[in-house]
């Protein structure tokens, strides 16, 4: 077996043919991942005991002649903001460097029930706040495609592990693009499902009305299978959706002829770049497949950044209030009084970006500013969402770039927070509207850097989104 090129289908076949057992695969995958990890710093820590126990359960099911599950034996990486019982879960923060989760996230339980083998936890921006994974307290991640560049963020460890081959699939989280942008930068598939499609139970809260768990994979089929395993109502998350989960892989290979695809004018204005050229070549592929491509307008796009950074920082300031030195492992040793303990623990524990967002969020929620900022943003969010629902009466899917540019150099954008925020422009709108969206590889620049094409679909139409992405992938992306 060649670990870095394994697919879910290949593993299924290998297990069925007795080419390898799940335990043999897990041992080999762990060895490979541990040996390769220093090149990228994608994993923060491994959980070999848990991985081998999961693999043994798969082998036992196979020995009994039972169905071992759709993800049987598949090596999975999990972003370190998602709780794994008995395993450290640091959120990329010094504050939680020694935090051992007391329970499992629902998504983690479901992945293991489907036969998945979790190898370890992946690096990320602290509390998932960032677009480059440079905000991790445990050092940045290098892009496996170009080691002097960032892997994107905040789920940069998960995208890098998937691209590097140290995981076959990975779990990430997305609040403003944290799955799609790193998938785009590393040349893999990344999916942000409909809000509520996957339970957030056990996902460390950043901005609760925007947070999603979603899959990374090296092909559309594997991403669809992983989402399938995680999706569905969970009583532990009141916002998780009741809508039945269709068979996503059944849609793959389906016709896309006649599908109506919208290209939003606002996303392509001023996109005179290699990225823009590659996306337009990708659009040509979609036309050749028989898609009916037309221009559309999402007029509130230019307000999305301001709207997003008000809502996400407001929610973050509330969600991060719990890290005060009482319950979560780290407490400043300089704490004479209770108030000092709160202020010192937070001041010494949080990194610069978390502090910035806590401050912004506290400001926009503070007395006298609530109506001007937070309430206004909630209204503008409704307008952004309305743009999409109007357009989805005319088209089946929307196609855009994921990021205005490919992976940038480590350190290149660290000093300018606003510029970093503005680079999220194409991904935050989908999160604000709560619709499913994904990044699918769309070729490489002259320098060899991957570029991702974003596909957005209407609420709960993941199946249609996968069908289009699968046809695009099968046609060779932009190269067809």
């Amino acid at each position: 077996m060649t670990i870095p090129s394994l697919t879910v289908t290949g593993i299924r076949q290998g297990l069925a043919d007795r080419e390898f057992s799940a335990v043999e695969l897990a041992e080999e995958a762990l060895r490979f991942a541990q040996a390769e990890n220093p090149k990228t710093n994608a994993y923060l820590h491994f959980c070999p005991e848990r991985a081998l126990a999961a693999a043994r359960r798969v082998d036992e099911r196979l020995a009994r002649g039972e169905n071992p599950g759709p993800l049987a034996g598949v090596p999975v990486a999990v972003k370190d903001v998602i709780l794994t019982k008995g395993v450290r879960t640091t959120c990329g923060s010094k504050l939680l460097a020694n935090y051992v989760a007391p329970y499992d996230a629902t998504a983690v339980i479901r992945v293991e029930a489907a036969g998945g083998v979790i190898l370890g936890k992946t690096n990320c921006d602290e509390f998932a706040m960032g677009s480059s994974t440079e905000n991790s307290a445990f050092g940045p991640v290098r892009n496996p495609v170009a080691p002097d560049r960032v892997p994107g963020g905040s789920s940069g460890g998960s995208s890098a592990a998937t691209a590097q081959g140290t995981a076959v699939v990975a779990l990430g989280s997305d609040t403003g693009g944290s799955i799609r942008q790193p998938a785009s930068f590393c040349g893999v598939v990344g999916v942000t499902p409909t809000y509520g499609r996957v339970s957030r139970y056990g996902l460390t809260a950043f901005a609760s009305s925007l947070d999603h768990i979603g899959p990374f994979a090296r092909n559309v089929h594997d991403a669809a299978l992983l989402l399938q395993a995680m999706a569905g109502r969970d009583e532990c998350d009141a916002t998780s959706a009741f809508a039945p989960v269709p068979d996503y892989t059944a849609e793959l290979g389906g016709q896309v002829r006649g599908l109506k695809i919208g290209l939003p004018r606002e996303y392509f204005q001023g996109l005179a770049s290699e990225t823009g050229d590659l996306i337009l070549k990708g659009v040509e592929t979609l036309k050749r497949l028989g898609c009916d491509v037309r221009e559309i307008s999402l007029p509130h796009t230019e307000y999305a950044i301001g709207c997003y950074y008000i809502i996400c920082t407001a929610e973050a300031s509330a969600n991060l209030a719990r890290y005060d030195g009482v319950r979560y492992t780290w407490r400043s040793p300089r704490s004479e009084t209770l108030g000092d303990m709160y202020r010192n623990t937070r001041g010494e524990g949080f990194g610069a970006e978390c502090k910035r967002r806590i401050m912004l969020g506290t400001y926009v929620l503070s007395a006298g500013y609530y109506d001007a900022y937070y309430l206004k943003a909630q209204k503008v969010r409704a307008l952004v969402a309305r743009d999409f629902s109007r357009v989805f009466q005319e088209v089946d899917a929307i196609v855009t770039p994921v990021s205005p540019f490919p992976a940038f150099k480590l350190g290149e954008k660290l000093d300018d927070p606003l510029e970093m925020y503005l680079s999220d422009i194409y991904t935050i709108t989908g999160d604000l509207a709560g619709i499913p969206c994904m990044s699918v590889p769309c070729g490489r620049t002259g320098a060899g850097l991957p570029v991702g094409m974003q596909i957005l679909a209407n609420h709960f139409n993941e199946a249609g989104m996968f069908r289009l992405a699968g046809a695009f992938e099968a046609a060779g992306g932009f190269e067809a």
């Binding site: 307000y303 301001g306 005060d324 009482v326 010192n344 502090k355 503070s366 206004k376 606003l418 503005l422």
Partner: protein, 100 residues
């Protein structure tokens, strides 16, 4: 727009966040820049728009109400397992009230 040091220190106090003098100075710039960008939203007339309080709510009003059944929690031992300081089944913190 640039925030004053006084404004930054006031917000930091609300957030229970100790900031160094250098951090305060940088926050004046950084927050000011981002807040200026946020003011762009004022170009939009939203008088007749309802705020989006729910992301998705397509189910009936009572659909997300669970059955009122007793389910075990994670238990005090697990809940306290990550405490920096615990004792007697409680989280321990520095003294709040002085003894008379």
């Amino acid at each position: 727009m640039k925030l004053t040091e006084q404004e930054v220190r006031y917000v930091a106090a609300l957030a229970n966040l100790n900031l160094s003098d250098e951090e305060v100075a940088k926050m004046c710039e950084d927050l000011g820049e981002v807040l200026t960008h946020m003011e762009k939203l004022n170009e939009l007339d939203t008088a007749d728009v309802d705020p989006m309080a729910q992301v998705l709510y397509q189910a009936g009003e009572t659909a997300t109400l669970g059955e009122d059944i007793d389910r075990p929690g994670i238990g005090p031992e697990a809940a306290l397992s990550n405490a920096p300081l615990a004792g007697g089944g409680f989280f321990k913190v520095p003294r709040v009230i002085e003894r008379a």
